[in-house]
């Protein structure tokens, strides 16, 4: 009995110690600014650790090779995971002492606990603001209270651009009797109706992961215009989701499902399945981002085109990958030099070769007709200053909220009005 008494004591004490050690948390302080910044890099042998996601790692690895040629004393190690796991683990990795020096940003607000640097000083040193379009750059600048984007604290440097637009199957469009791709909302609806009449799948879509939200946002901002849509998507106080455009977007989504323009089992499969269906001729249109261009290009070649989402305003949902520097990094200046190379003219063709549209798009040229379409669409959209951040990124739960509500709307479980108010309630809960 004596032994067990002692054991009890030891066990109890170690439990207390464990609870005490696991509840230790660091204080919130926001992204710190480095005290000094410099373009001159150490000559000592060092290792830079870069954490990113697949397939972005292909670009990072290609750039790392060039970087090592320029700085032979630096070894760059690129480590990649898939996005869902990455976004759930990156904060812990940044907190650890053996974490990355450079890391892909999962969310602009992640920096609030001070795990990554405020890059404003480096941005001035290297002149990054001259290269990056402001509509993209502001998605990675947060306000002092870490509640919305379009602020003054630069938490990450965007290195490539994603835009969501409309892919169309040229042969099927012709088969439906439509000669030119749609420009206005009326054109688009006319084309969908014609495709339906011709016995085709008018609009391919997969919503098991919530990608129907692209259509709501696409119609919403093409109606309301980029300026007001961007305010909401960036979390600027005082904006609302309850707009004429968003209401139209949600009602069209529902109406198009009921009219048979969208497959009836849309909730049961994903965007990736929809891409596959589209490349196999199941769908005249597909509302998707340029990140799938490589797959679609390989399967369809000259038979596929890409245009900005039809509507009154030339707009696109757009964002992209952005990189941050860890506060724990011992080689911050070298990390900044690596970021600078990621957006250099030298890196642009490396990004393009791997299917990424570089932020430094300048002289990029497409080598296929689809790539040329995407460049042309991007040119028109940026000329119109029409890039709007993904609605999904405005709060940490918005992606899930948009998934749940669009599924419920398409499944006949939720009204347009409830969708709008549920989405707005999520938005407001973080502000």
């Amino acid at each position: 009995m004596k032994i067990s008494g002692k054991i009890k004591g030891v066990v109890f004490a170690s439990l207390l110690a464990l609870v005490a050690s696991t509840s230790g948390a660091i204080a919130a302080g926001g992204a710190p600014s480095p005290s000094t910044v410099s373009k001159s890099i150490t000559k000592k042998p060092i290792t830079l650790r870069v954490f990113t996601t697949a397939p972005q790692n292909k670009v990072s690895e290609a750039v790392a090779k060039e970087f090592q040629k320029k700085y032979p004393n630096i070894k760059v190690v690129v480590q990649a995971t898939d996005f869902p796991n990455y976004s759930q683990g990156i904060q812990l990795a940044l907190k650890s002492k053996n974490g990355p020096d450079v890391a892909l940003a999962a969310n602009a607000f992640d920096s609030k606990n001070g795990l990554t640097l405020n890059l404003a000083k480096y941005s001035r040193l290297y002149g990054w603001n001259k290269t990056i379009p402001s509509t993209i750059a502001q998605q990675w600048k947060v306000t002092e209270d870490y509640k919305s984007m379009a602020g003054s604290i630069q938490v990450a440097l965007p290195t490539n651009i994603n835009i969501v637009g409309l892919y169309y199957n040229k042969a099927l469009l012709k088969q439906a009797g439509i000669t030119t791709p749609p420009v206005s909302m009326e054109d688009f609806e006319k084309a969908l109706a014609a495709a339906k009449k011709a016995g085709l799948v008018p609009l391919q879509m997969g919503n098991s992961q919530g990608h129907a939200a692209f259509l709501v946002q696409g119609i919403g901002q093409a109606t309301d215009g980029a300026k007001s849509a961007a305010k909401w998507a960036l979390g600027v106080t005082g904006s609302t989701f309850d707009t004429a455009g968003n209401k139209l977007g949600a009602s069209k989504l529902l109406a198009w499902k009921e009219a048979g323009y969208i497959p009836s089992d849309v909730n049961s499969y994903s965007l990736q399945d929809a891409v596959k269906n589209f490349t196999q001729g199941q769908g005249v249109f597909l509302n998707d981002g340029n990140w799938d261009a490589g797959t679609i290009d390989a399967a369809m070649g000259d038979n596929v085109g890409f245009i900005p989402f039809p509507g009154k305003n030339v707009v696109a949902i757009g964002g992209g990958d952005a990189f941050q520097i860890a506060s724990n990094s011992k080689n911050k200046d070298a990390a900044a030099a690596f970021l600078d190379m990621l957006i250099s003219a030298q890196a642009a063709p490396l990004a393009w070769a791997n299917g990424f549209l570089p932020t430094n798009v300048g002289s990029a040229k497409g080598s296929t007709s689809l790539q040329n379409d995407i460049l042309k669409a991007y040119g028109n959209i940026s000329k119109a200053n029409g890039i709007v951040s993904f609605n999904n990124n405005v709060t940490s739960s918005m992606n899930q909220t948009l998934t749940t509500t669009t599924q419920a709307l398409l499944g006949g479980q939720m009204s347009v009005a409830t969708l709008i108010s549920t989405v707005q309630a999520d938005w407001a809960s973080s502000r």
């Binding site: 464990l18 609870v19 948390a25 904060q91 812990l92 606990n113 499969y269 899930q400």
Partner: protein, 291 residues
Amino acid sequence: MKKGRNSSSEAILFVIPALSLYLLFVIAPWISAISFSFFNWDGIGSAVWNGFNNYSEVFRDPEQFNSIKHSLVLIGFFSVVPVTLGLVLAHLISNLETTSLIGRMSRVVIFLPQVLPLIAVGIAWKLIYSSQGVLNQFLENVGLGASTRGWLGDFNFALPAIGFVGIWLGTGLCLLLFNSGIQKIDQHLYEAVQLDGGGRIRAFTSVTVPSLRPEIRFASTITMIAALSGFDLVYVMTNGGPGGATLVPGLEVFRLAFSYNRFGQACALAVVLSLITFLFILLINRVLKDN
């Protein structure tokens, strides 16, 4: 008495390795989950005391509350049906020669799902239920083309579809447990039923079921825990969709902690879930007490 004391101290020494691992990896995390559940904490930054608010939120937030309701529905599919079906099947095949080909094959086939990893099971069933999957092809071929649908994307069928996989998974385990239990039942009891003019149904209700009480208790407990703590199947098959129709507490805890960065809230839901599990286990043990 001396001898007894010695053996009990020795027993404790033998228990220490397992006990310390259990304390370190089960009890200690559970206690820290309880302590986190009273804080508003994002998992990285500073934690703020939040009293019992996280607990009341579990019942106020429809997303969390519905996940608990779904898990109660799944108990029917993961526990009640497999235990009942397992009992009936065990009784039916108890007369089969254990070495006969049919006897062996049926046991292998019914038990097979148990040895497959749940992730693989989920992927396989996801394909079966898909729009172009085997289930819809079968329905087309027998003239029920009008009933085909994307099963896991349908609000009415997604949860039962996952539940059906639970039946498929659990029945084999229950059958195996009950089958071995039946071997231990004194054959004279069955003869006595026959002498009294009772048939196979009477033998089932008067001998098989009462004699298998400990096995039923064990099978109910572990299948119940599987139903309440399920994560893998739902994560792979629907990720809680469509529209939250298949969201279960295990997945919601994961989501709250790692997607929404609401660690304290996730811990509160986890604690509520463990209390519900305890409650059910107590209930099972009360109802299926040994005489």
